[in-house]
């Protein structure tokens, strides 16, 4: 437990350092915020365009899709905001700078996660939170204490799954050694699948999205549960379990990666 406490307080200190640096680059930040905003809006606009032609996609209405969209963007914002370090793992491996982390008495994975924060991730989080709030207000949801609790748990679990997915994907740099993050980027683009109801895809793709790259548990199943939709809604309860499993798998992958790390450069 002390490791966690130590990590958190360290993380906060590192974040403060980075915030200080960022304050120096205000222009940068504002431009990126504008771009982020535009990206989100165009995504929403696309959904609006589709639904202006047809009222339902496979039985799902616009606000339900917007809600799922929000979940995906929220988790993306979490990575960008807090754990941007995952994208830098490849660089560190390629340059040999990972050595520094290995030599410190702290879990390496955690050090990697804490390496960088990106404020426009916070913008994503805000916007997607608004999206979800609006969507929920337009939908009929049977709220009770348990459901609110589950919702918070879902947000947490979804974020964990997304972060672990991203970290594991970036671990491929241990084997590919090029420092190029294209595999992680590929996994990231798969999030597109998570924005829409799972049912529109063929079984093969559904299988991948449930068992291999579990985007279904980031948006689809939690949404099913919250909206009490259909017989599979109860699968949503598995989301925290999936989160735990992804943590374990990520842990193993990272450890394996360290074994083949060859610390280039002198």
């Amino acid at each position: 437990m002390t490791t966690i406490n130590k990590f958190i307080s360290l993380y906060i200190k590192l974040m403060i350092q980075q915030l200080k640096c960022m304050m120096a680059y205000k222009m940068d930040f504002l431009i990126m915020l504008a771009f982020t905003f535009f990206t989100q809006i165009s995504g929403l606009f696309f959904i609006y365009l589709i639904f202006s032609k047809i009222p339902y996609i496979d039985g799902w209405n616009m606000w339900e899709v917007i809600f799922m969209y929000g979940m995906i963007y929220f988790t993306e914002g979490v990575i960008n905001f807090l754990f941007e370090g995952t994208w830098l793992l490849g660089q560190y491996i390629h340059s040999g700078n990972l050595d520094r982390y290995i030599l410190r008495p702290l879990p390496i994975g955690m050090q990697v996660l804490a390496t960088k924060i990106n404020l426009d991730g916070f913008g994503k989080i805000l916007i997607s939170a608004c999206m979800m709030a609006k969507a929920l207000s337009m939908l009929e949801v049977n709220w009770n204490l348990a459901k609110v609790g589950m919702f918070i748990l879902f947000i947490l679990s979804a974020s964990i799954i997304r972060v672990c997915l991203n970290l594991s994907a970036n671990c491929t740099c241990f084997w590919l050694k090029s420092g190029n993050t294209s595999f992680a980027h590929l996994i990231h683009t798969f999030s597109e699948f998570g924005k829409y109801p799972l049912t529109i895809f063929q079984t093969g793709i559904q299988f991948v999205l449930i068992f291999i790259i579990p985007y279904a548990f980031i948006s689809f199943f939690p949404t099913l549960y919250i909206l009490d939709r259909g017989e599979y809604a109860v699968i949503g309860l598995l989301t925290p379990v999936v989160a735990l499993i992804t943590i374990c798998i990520t842990f193993v992958i990272f450890k394996l990666g360290l074994r083949v790390y060859d610390s280039p450069g002198n």
């Binding site: 360290l10 350092q17 050595d99 290995i102 030599l103 410190r104 702290l106 450069g265 002198n266």
Partner: protein
């Protein structure tokens, strides 16, 4: 049990073989080929508490690879390492609490924040108790002369300043073992001296074991008492510096500056087991073996001639000895 035990340590890498040009790149895309390169092969040695060991070899000999395995960065292909009873790769976190590491080419300091802030962060990471931290900081600042730049960020420091800060940073938590990989590369003479002084102090006061790789033999002579030479991945020499200099190499050289422009000196020493080389009109070198004749005897003979202006006795430098080790003219039993 020794503090550091290395047994039959080996490390090999798989490299891709690629032919040059577009055609080669294309072939590589379809059918990649690999070859195994051995960096370290069956290296064994032990280090006791308080020793100061130099670990040297030519570029690519396997020095850095060994250090990286000792510090837990690399996983050995085979063999065993035990540092203070721990396996550095398996028990990584425990082991890192016991070691300090300085890489000459890289810094462990945070780049954009003042050095003192980096130190404070390290204090938290290593859980250094307040009084110990304060005391160490004071002493280190004093010996290494860090007062003037301790409030600057690392990126603004000169190489000499950064290196001093790095060495101090590595020792704040009083580790029993300190690894240094090319710590004095690019440093000027004054800073090197400070570094030597500091390392000797640490070893004397805290019995810190030091394992040092360097190309700078001055470092080694000033600090270390033991030398391990590695070449092409294997250990080819492991013994004290005294031994390599004293007992095993008996060659000595007397350099003399004389007025004699004729052959008077050569005539005088004709019957002694020495080789006289006339370097210049006034400079003479006299080569001899300590086993065959004492320097004193030669000097006695020399001083019978007038006109000797100056002389000095040279011991073989470590560099020449090591060169001899490399080209095999120096046999090690």
């Amino acid at each position: 049990m020794s503090l550091i035990e290395v047994q039959a340590l080996s490390k090999s890498y798989r490299n891709t073989i690629k032919e040059p040009g577009v055609k080669g790149a294309f072939k590589h895309l379809i059918h990649p080929k690999y070859e195994d390169k051995v960096a370290v092969s069956h290296v064994s040695f032990t280090v006791e508490r308080g020793e100061k060991v130099a670990y040297i070899g030519s570029n690519g000999a396997g020095k850095s690879t060994t250090i990286k395995m000792l510090t837990g960065i690399l996983l050995p292909t085979s063999g065993k390492i035990s540092v203070n009873g721990l396996d550095p790769h398996k028990n990584r976190i425990e082991n890192t609490k016991n070691i300090g590491v300085v890489f000459g080419q890289r810094t462990q300091l945070w780049w954009d924040i003042p050095i003192i802030e980096s130190f404070k962060l390290l204090k938290d990471i290593y859980e250094i108790p307040g009084p110990m931290y304060k005391k160490n900081l004071e002493i280190f600042c004093d010996i290494l002369g860090m007062e003037q730049f301790i409030h600057q960020p690392a990126r603004k420091l000169s190489l000499g300043q950064r290196m001093r800060a790095d060495i101090a940073a590595s020792l704040l938590h009083n580790p029993p073992i300190l690894y240094l990989d090319e710590p004095t590369i690019g440093l000027d003479v004054a800073v090197k001296e400070k570094v030597h002084e500091f390392l000797n102090y640490i070893n004397k006061e805290k019995k810190t074991t030091i394992l040092l790789t360097s190309h700078d033999l001055a470092d080694i002579e000033k600090i270390c008492d033991r030398i391990i030479i590695i070449d092409q991945g294997t250990v080819i020499y492991d013994d004290t510096i005294q031994k390599i200099k004293g007992e095993l190499i008996s060659e000595r050289k007397i350099n003399a500056l004389i007025e004699d422009t004729g052959n008077v000196l050569e005539e005088k020493l004709k019957n002694l087991p020495v080789t006289v080389i006339r370097e210049d009109t006034n400079k003479v070198s006299i080569l001899f073996s300590q086993n065959e004749i004492a320097a004193v005897t030669i000097l006695e003979n020399m001083l019978q001639i007038t006109g000797i202006q100056d002389f000095s006795i040279e011991e073989p430098g470590l560099e020449q000895l090591i060169k001899k080790v490399y080209n095999g003219t120096f046999l090690i039993s």
